[in-house]
Amino acid sequence: MNSWHVDERALRAYAERDLVALERASVEAHVMGCGTCRSELGRVARGSVGTVSFEDLWGRVQTRVDVAPSVRTTRWLQRIGVSDSDTVVVRQIGRQCLQWTIATTLVLALAALAATLGVHDSAQLGFVLLAPLLPALGVAATYRLTPTTTSVLEITSPYSPARLLLWRTGYAVATAVPASVAFGAVIPGDPWMAVAWLLPSAACTALVLVAATWTDPVRPAAVVSAGWLGLVASWHVRHVPDALVTPSTQFLSLAVALAAGAVFARRLFVLRVHVL
């Protein structure tokens, strides 16, 4: 026999489907084993139905009809604690950047195919060039692919610009990293290559992120890309194809990423931007 019972407010929220998944599961588990709460739930549910106005009920029905069913990503984001309103933003970013996501995945897949067909050197060079840059370029793409007037509406809205920037960065990273890791795994050569690009990538992305607090991220992304291409070209000319996996490259990348991250945090503080 249970020594505690679910309070009426929680039961009412359960009956009206206003609880998040974890709370709902908890109430459900308790109610299944507690006759008192079960009968109380029946009473609350009847009362709840009785107090819902027709207008509210009709509003809920309309909303169910109006809103596209949640895609798996949305449900997953909500499960890890992303708020409902932020999932709307992420969905919008995904919709605007679909072409970018498809294009990058296709390029990586073709490069991986080339590697498996025996064009090893070119595939490796392509990988070292592309993989670290994709998240940084993705951040710029999320801005460039937004229609100009939608950008104006974003700028003139009270939604935190830093928060929007971070969601866009998160989207770019989340879509580019798995494809790049998969590509890296099929490249012959140093097995560390599959993950060695992550720190340089973090450095490039952090540099774009911090520059984006001053200006449109497209220009810094172009500058960072040019810098990275120059560095890779110099490795190629000096015949050091494995320079990416050396400790010096990794430490330098980590230092740049940390420094840029610190500047970004400082910028948020100076600008009094509340991200969350």
Partner: protein, 289 residues
């Protein structure tokens, strides 16, 4: 009348071109028309007021906050602002409801139930309540314009800034639009940039005319119309040296400005007449300010 907008000696340039030149004016509650020929600086002015851009010189204040101030000041303005740009390019693949939901989230409507209720309200206000799930690309030009207007109405903002909102609307839709604006003007501020001078007479309390980056007129609508009194005629032929002449519905020729012949009959001026006299090619027109 509560003061909503105050511009003090504002200048803004695009490289060498001066878009706004030492502009000073104030706007309070009610509907204010913003008139001016293409290139007069209207869109630049709206960008400054909507916090999308900052002036090179001078001070822009909205609700007592600097529009080029700290992020906190700009956010305070944005929370009370509804903005309709001249052309709204919609993100591809979206539904009307989806687009409005994104804008509502940007406007901090975080509660899902309240947000959806608000979206249905603004869809109803622009007569698109029966088309929430349709893809935007399948909407007509007028319907898209109404959808763009709907996003500006989200949250019933205290300040509505509208750039050419009636472009592409049929007469019936324009009537609905005017009714909405009149209602909004009773308890808030509406700044309406338009080339449709008939909208000005129908819904506006005040007129602000920009010409080549400077304020050519700022005052109420009757004063603006009065500025053309005694300078508009009808006759069987155009008046020589008139700023503009055209045939009216009675098959007579209406002329604005110029030296009328003895046969010309003076008629009551309209907003359009006053506007043509003010920004037309005839120099030295005296206008009440």
């Amino acid at each position: 009348m509560h003061l909503t907008i105050r511009l003090d000696h504002v200048t803004h340039r695009y490289r060498d071109a001066v878009a706004l030149d030492d502009v000073t004016f104030q706007i309070g509650t009610g509907v204010t028309a913003l008139l001016g020929p293409n290139g007069a600086g209207k869109t630049t002015l709206l960008s400054l007021l909507s916090t999308a851009a900052a002036p090179d010189n001078g001070n822009v204040e909205v609700f007592g906050h600097r529009a080029d101030g700290t992020l906190a000041e700009r956010t305070a303005i944005r929370r009370r602002l509804g903005f309709l740009p001249q052309e709204v390019e919609f993100p591809s693949g979206m539904t009307a409801f989806g687009f409005l939901e994104y804008i509502a989230v940007l406007k901090e409507w975080n509660d899902k139930t309240a947000r959806h209720r608000e979206i249905r309200r603004v869809l109803g206000a622009v007569q698109l309540a029966d088309r929430p799930t349709i893809k935007i690309r399948k909407l007509s030009g007028g319907q898209r314009r109404r959808l763009a207007f709907a996003q500006a109405l989200i949250g019933d903002p205290d300040l509505l800034i509208l750039d050419e909102p009636t472009t592409g609307l049929d007469p019936e839709q324009r009537a609905v639009f005017r009714a909405t604006l009149s209602e909004r003007g009773r308890h808030g501020t509406v700044l309406l940039a338009t080339h449709q001078t008939e909208d000005v007479g129908a819904v506006c309390d005040q007129v602000l005319v920009l010409d080549r980056g400077r304020v050519a007129f700022a005052g109420d609508v009757p004063s603006f119309i009065d500025s053309a009194r005694g300078r508009v005629w009808v006759d069987d032929a155009p008046v020589p040296d008139a700023v503009a002449s055209w045939r009216d519905p009675n098959r007579r020729v209406r002329s604005v400005g110029g030296e009328p012949p003895p046969t010309a009959e003076p008629v009551d001026p309209t907003v359009e007449d006053a506007y043509l006299l003010l920004v037309g090619p005839t120099p030295g027109v005296e206008v009440a300010a």
